[in-house]
């Protein structure tokens, strides 16, 4: 039944993870940085589900883990966006280059 080998799925998840990491380092808009982190978390979800399905089909641990990740990512986004809104009220921008009142 399984026609796509697990390595292909791993390729997708690794690519997604590093695209996310790249976006996190290069983008300067805070909302986009948050979205980049969400991409990385989705790569993790794909990993968990693929490993669960292909390597350990008798278990459910990978599936459960990804459900928890989705839930917590939502909570994290809620807190982060609340803070970013607050940033916007103080600085009138959400560009991370302009938010530099703290520097050594």
């Amino acid at each position: 039944m399984i026609s796509v080998p697990v390595t292909h799925i791993l390729f997708v998840s690794f690519a997604l993870f590093f695209i996310g990491a790249y976006g996190f380092f290069t983008r300067r808009n805070m909302i986009t940085m948050l979205m980049a982190v969400e991409l990385m978390l989705n790569a993790v979800n794909i990993n968990f589900i693929a490993f669960n399905r292909y390597l350990y089909p008798g278990q459910l641990e990978g599936l459960f883990f990804s459900i928890f990740i989705i839930t917590i990512a939502a909570a994290e986004a809620a807190v982060a966006i609340a803070i970013i809104i607050n940033i916007y009220r103080r600085f009138k921008t959400i560009d991370s280059d302009d938010i530099d009142s703290l520097k050594f």
Binding site: M30, M40, A43, V44, I72, A75, A80, I83, F104
Partner: protein, 478 residues
């Protein structure tokens, strides 16, 4: 009697949860009332968990082995509770100006609850849930002064960095799951012992590297430290104290437990890397601490340096090192919170927080100056104080694992760190100023904290049985 087992094993966590529920109900019915009661209530809940962890630690596992507790976990949780009590007490002066005093207690309690679950985790999922429960309210705490732009900036830096490091940790966890097929710590350990049998050693190794990096972010070891100083400076002083002591402590406890319990087979590699990171952390922390004029920022960098010393104990990969980490953490709690209490109360009463403002402090506020003196001596590791013994045991554990160069390097860094600790002492006791900080009454809660921390710093060093007791609690490589 399953319910009774649940209550007796999770007694510290349930106590905190009960405290949280009571505070929430209090918040609904007494909206806008003065929150003095709530503060004392939170302190008594935390003192309850503190005593519970020391004298009545639960022993056993629950949730099918996802939750494991014992006397070591009890002791670690007690240390964290005690630190939170100090922070709430000396933070009262600052909280009086805030309209949201009660929310501060709620957030502190939920962060601690997350840390408790993280310390007791026997499964990567439980660990992750605890970690996030500890991280998200912490970001809210960092923006607690939300009218100040610096506080918001600290919060956004904290949440983005911790989200990124959580993603790294999780990616590591997923690879480890792929390589071993389990997420339980004991089973992971045995799966790693025979990697060749499954041909999955690459996945495990890659997963371990990601996990390790994620942890390094959390404990802000160099080169993953850049967020730390900004967050510490921007956040309100009590929150900075919380970040630098309590959340560093919790992350380090779990870091040690995961390294020693789950990945002992890789010990040669991680011992080397941790040692190198420790050396780098000391140097960078020292270099930046030297050029700080702001006391808060200075304490932030000095706490990065202290993490470097703690990493020597972690790198030793022995029971002695584990005990030394626990012992140093307790002493560090007293010394750093003592120093933060003084800085916090002076900033709240007079708004001054630079080194030049502290000139002649001894003339006007002798007790505060003396308390800060004892705390700084202990941070620097000068012999009669407990900080000396803490560092002695850390370096001793490093030397007994054969890392002579690292120990010599750490000693050199201790000498360098004396310079900037004594600079503050000189400003307080030797220098004179035309415009010294005026005399003020610091209030009962701050006095309690300072008395406790000075007593703790002096007595812990002479109370030698404590280290033996910690050694009996801890474990080496398994």
């Amino acid at each position: 009697m399953d319910f009774i087992t649940l209550v007796s094993l999770l007694r510290m966590e349930l106590l905190l949860t009960a405290g949280l529920v009571v505070l929430l109900i209090y918040k609904i019915f007494y909206e806008g009332a003065r929150d003095k009661m709530a503060g004392w209530f939170t302190v008594s809940v935390l003192l309850g968990t503190f005593l519970c962890g020391i004298f009545l630690p639960a022993e056993g596992g629950y949730f099918g082995g996802m939750f494991i507790t014992g006397s070591l976990a009890g002791m670690e949780k007690s240390i964290l509770s005690l630190g939170s009590v100090f922070i709430i007490l000396f933070g009262r002066t600052w909280l009086e100006n805030s309209r949201h005093e009660l929310e501060f207690y709620l957030l502190i309690l939920s962060v601690l609850l997350g840390m408790f679950f993280m310390i007791s985790a026997g499964h990567l999922l439980m660990f992750y849930l605890g970690l996030e429960l500890a991280t998200l309210p912490l970001a809210a705490l960092a923006v607690f002064d939300f009218n100040k732009s610096r506080s918001s900036e600290a919060g956004v830096k904290l949440i983005l960095n911790s989200a990124f490091s959580s993603a790294l940790l999780l990616f590591g966890a997923s690879l480890v799951y792929g390589g071993s097929g389990t997420l339980y710590f004991p089973e992971l350990n045995s799966a790693i012992t025979f990697p060749a049998s499954r041909g999955s050693s690459f996945l495990l190794l890659a997963g371990f590297s990601f996990l390790f990096t994620g942890f390094a972010f959390k404990i802000s070891a160099v080169p993953f430290h850049l967020w730390t100083a900004d967050v510490y400076e921007g956040a309100p002083v009590p929150v900075t104290a919380f970040l630098s002591v309590i959340s560093k402590g919790a992350a380090l406890f779990v870091f040690v437990a995961v390294l020693y319990r789950v990945f002992p087979l890789y010990s040669e590699t991680w011992s080397l890397v941790t040692g190198l990171m420790g050396a780098l952390t000391m140097v960078i922390g020292n270099l930046f601490a030297m050029r700080q004029g702001n006391l808060k920022r200075f304490l932030a960098f000095s706490s990065i340096t202290q993490v470097g010393f703690l990493l020597v104990g972690v790198a030793s990969a022995s029971q002695l090192g584990h005990a030394a980490v626990l012992y140093f953490m307790l002493i560090y709690l007293f010394s750093n919170l003592g120093a933060f209490a003084v800085v916090s109360v002076i900033a709240d009463k007079t708004g001054k927080e630079t080194l030049s403002d502290y000139r002649g402090l001894y003339k006007t506020n002798p007790m505060l100056a003396l308390a800060l003196l004892v705390a700084l001596f202990s941070l620097a590791g000068i012999p009669p104080t407990a900080g000396f013994f803490g560092k002695l045991f850390l370096l001793n554990s490093g030397a007994s694992s054969g890392m002579i160069y690292l120990v010599i390097f750490a000693c050199m860094n201790m000498v360098v760190s004396l310079y900037y600790y004594l600079r503050v002492v000189k400003a307080m006791f030797v220098d004179t100023s035309d415009d010294p900080i005026p005399h003020f009454n610091s209030g009962l809660p701050v006095k309690i904290v300072l008395a406790c921390s000075v007593l703790g710093i002096i007595l812990l060093g002479f109370f030698g049985g404590l280290f033996d007791y910690f050694t009996s609690l801890t474990f080496g490589l398994q």
